[in-house]
Point group: C2
């Protein structure tokens, strides 16, 4: 790491000549000179607290110490001194600060090795599962402080945990990069989110200064830098910037698109020359939050469905191959696509009784399709798909396709020009692009165009934590990206209506989709 020019958090071994009558330079000045010797061109600053520590520490360790530095703009800030010469492993912490789930990951700063990792439910969900409730709560007396404390204290417990797993102390964590949406970033830093949800939706800041861990209350080395990824506005947050960094799309010549489906669908389109981003409501049904039998991706969640067109037999695969408990977003898409291909639902998603046969039953006046019978399920009940679930899924898929069509046509490119279609998140990890194309949710591109990226927020935070270039890139992306407002106007609604059919009212858009 000492010699690694790519870092913005560095450890540098320094051995300086003890002072003498011939050279009575002050202790910190001598130390800085020593660092600059092995790290030429660095412009080093330090704070009073470290000036207080230096004289005693240098003498105690025979003028042979390790300096910890981080780069803040053009300066390098000397933020601590360690004994020894590199014996002590040092780590950074990458954080995906999600509205629902927070993931913390240790990353070795001496190599690039990912260390212990852990996730937890964002304890702010106690206040409210959705962002708006939390913003309202922040406006109550003490509410903002409470929200900040909830997440920071919970995070500190998790830090102790991952540090213990890794066999280090929290003080060996000497830097941190946090990617979250704009509201989560505000609440994490104790910034009032009041204006985020009120027209014209203004964040307190788009860029946050590098903070000290102690200042934020995070239980790592208190002087360690905390980088919170910048946001573009209320709707495009640091999590998406991290995603763009993780995808590498802003370095590519060809056109890419990044889709991150959470509560909102966030979409970025562009290449190394330009980037546009937009956000829209498209998510719930895709995250498994809507269907009767819907669940988050996890053990027992159906993530893959195959229906035999001839016999109507439904075969399912579950995560971890256990008895089925419910269905996750990707499973739902598979299921609907298979139902369509087997002719069991029509282009409007309505069950075709003649094809479904005994698998249809009416529950409280609504038609339901039995996906897994009570004998085969883990719950002892039938796992069923309601007509209303399909309707809801088709609205979501229509919203997604409409957003994709709109944003591409706004910048005068065709969906066909997309060379890389990056899909972030759990949704992206499990989805079968063929099924999504069959439904008309995703454009009819060659399946290899679709690239699942997993947790891009965490991956981006990890990159930014480790690399000066990635850090600079994040800010460059923030400045480059244009946020486009999706006007839900008559044209949008027309497109939306056309997209509610399977795959679309215009089948030429989906030439690869043919009924079996």
């Amino acid at each position: 790491m000492g010699g690694d020019k790519g870092r913005w958090i560095k450890r540098i071994g320094v051995k300086i000549k003890p002072p003498s009558l011939g050279d009575n330079t002050g202790d910190t000045d001598r130390l800085i000179k020593g660092i600059e010797k092995s790290f030429p061109g660095s412009d080093i600053v330090l704070e009073l607290a470290l000036i207080k520590k230096t004289p005693g520490f240098l003498r105690e360790h025979g003028y042979e110490v390790e300096a910890l530095l981080y780069q803040d703009a053009s300066k390098w800030k000397l933020f601590d001194l360690l004994a020894g010469q590199g014996e002590r492993p040092l780590y950074g912490l990458a954080v995906d600060l999600g509205t629902s789930t927070v993931v913390v990951r240790l990353v070795s700063l001496d190599g690039d090795k990912v260390g212990a990792e852990s996730s937890f439910l964002n304890p702010q969900t106690e206040i409210g599962t959705d962002i708006l409730t939390r913003i309202q709560h922040a406006g109550r007396p003490g509410g903002l402080a409470e929200l900040q404390k909830l997440v920071v204290e919970r995070m500190n417990r998790e830090i102790l945990l991952v540090a213990a797993k890794q066999g280090i102390t929290p003080e060996q964590i000497v830097g941190m990069a946090v990617a979250g949406n704009t509201t989560m970033a505000h609440l994490f830093l104790g910034l009032d989110p009041h204006w985020l949800c009120r027209e014209p939706y203004i964040p307190a800041a788009n860029r946050f200064p590098l903070l000290k861990a102690g200042e934020v209350g995070v239980g790592i080395q208190p002087e360690a830098p905390v980088l919170v990824l910048p946001n573009v506005g209320s709707y495009l947050g640091g999590d998406l910037i991290a995603g763009i960094v993780a995808s590498g799309m802003a370095e590519r010549e060809e056109l890419s698109i990044l889709v991150d489906v959470g509560t909102n669908a966030e979409i970025v389109l562009g290449n190394r020359d330009w980037l546009v981003g937009c956000a829209g409501a498209a998510g719930p049904a895709l995250e498994g939050g809507v269907a009767n039998m819907g669940m988050m991706a996890g053990p027992g969640a159906i993530d893959k469905v195959i229906i035999d067109g001839a016999t109507g037999e439904v075969r399912v695969r579950t995560i971890q191959d256990v008895r089925p408990v419910g269905i996750c977003g990707s499973g739902l898409i598979d299921l609907a696509a298979q139902l369509f291909l087997a002719g069991m639902i029509d282009v409007q998603g309505k069950f075709i009784a003649g094809k479904c046969g005994k698998k249809l039953k009416e529950i409280e006046g609504i038609l339901n399709f039995i996906v897994v019978s009570s004998e085969a399920s883990a719950t002892g009940f039938d796992l069923t798909l309601a007509q209303t679930d399909i309707d809801s899924l088709l609205r979501s898929k229509a919203a997604m396709f409409t957003i994709l069509s709109t944003v591409t046509s706004m910048v005068n490119v065709s969906l066909k020009d997309i060379a890389n279609f990056f899909v972030a998140g759990t949704f992206g990890a499990y989805i079968d692009p063929r099924s999504a194309i069959t439904l008309g949710m995703l454009p009819d591109l060659p399946p290899e165009t679709y690239k699942p990226l997993g947790n891009t927020s965490l991956a981006g935070a990890t990159k930014v934590l480790l690399s000066r270039k990635a850090k600079a890139k994040a800010y460059e992306i923030r400045d480059k990206i244009t946020y486009v407002e999706l006007n839900v106007n008559q044209e949008f609604m027309n497109l939306f209506s056309a997209a509610r059919f399977i795959p679309h009212t215009d089948p030429t858009l989906f030439p690869s989709v043919r009924l079996s």
Copy 2:
């Protein structure tokens, strides 16, 4: 001040367009853009606390505010927002942090006007009048914190006082420059001075970062910058750097010398190309601290003496023309010079009984010269000059002349080449160069070469507070000046012995001195 490019502490009026759907830039980012519009090229940073304040403050004041900034290296730090547009007068505080006396001075940042000023006894004198005692005390448990607290709390009381005098609140003081010797600077910042008085005499730091007032505990605007002038080493402190700035000698082509006589004599020689500095014990007798009747310059102190060579009549002038109480350094020099010119002491400074006549009396076996009789004095006692006082004065003057000769010869210049002889401090304000030359204390230069500068530490701090150029100059001087160690070797002692005569064993060095 807004338009004044020469400042490093600035107020800038900003009127920004309220946010809209068409421009949803974050509040602080919008504010920074607004500042950069009227202050192009500034590279602005700010801290979390101000990001917290900004959204509410901007809305409350209709997006029309005043920004307070200071320059730290190449960046401008936005440290507060004010309501209004320049209505509120803003001040800076220049501080001369002396071992004995501390002077605080308000300076308007809107003009250059010096405002209320006040001085107080450094309360660390309770612990010890001399520096060494204080350093020892700092080594005791809690000692360092106590010393810092003593001076900071006392200073805060004085700040309340000068603010009240000026009709402002302490929050209207938004910057501070402090000039003190190296030990005083360490104690002010809570830095351990332990190594300052131990070979090889190493300060914790030569340059101090800009600090926040709140961090040091000074009761002005808590985010205001506190600049502590840099030092060259243990012996050449920020007070001397301030003195060099105040004298302007580092900008002049011709050779200048600056002499600051305090407990030590500090001497700087040079011009715009080079500077050498040294320090040596020469002071006590010159500060009035040694003679029987000695006192600091103040009301009733004899500061001028004329002796009629024919009649032997002694006429004295006192500060504020009141009855004489004692004699200050400059008066002592006058007195000795006049005694010599009147033939009442010989070249070795010994009283000539035949000339002194009745004015001589023996007290406890030591010859004393009655300067002011008990009838004329304010004390009701004779004010007398003892033979031992003269001996002590001659040692001091010899030390001074030897130091001057040594430092000039070390850099191969002649005392005769000195175009400006700046004399700092009270000593410089009152001394008659003719008398000092007569005694052989100062070199035999044309009297107009001698320029009293008064409190150069305060004057330099004031300049640095007000001007970016002077601030840069201070650091430039620090880096340029070479500290020369005066080796008290055989040659030095030979010079010293020769200089103990009046004016010198080599009268050709003082051609202007002739007995009347």
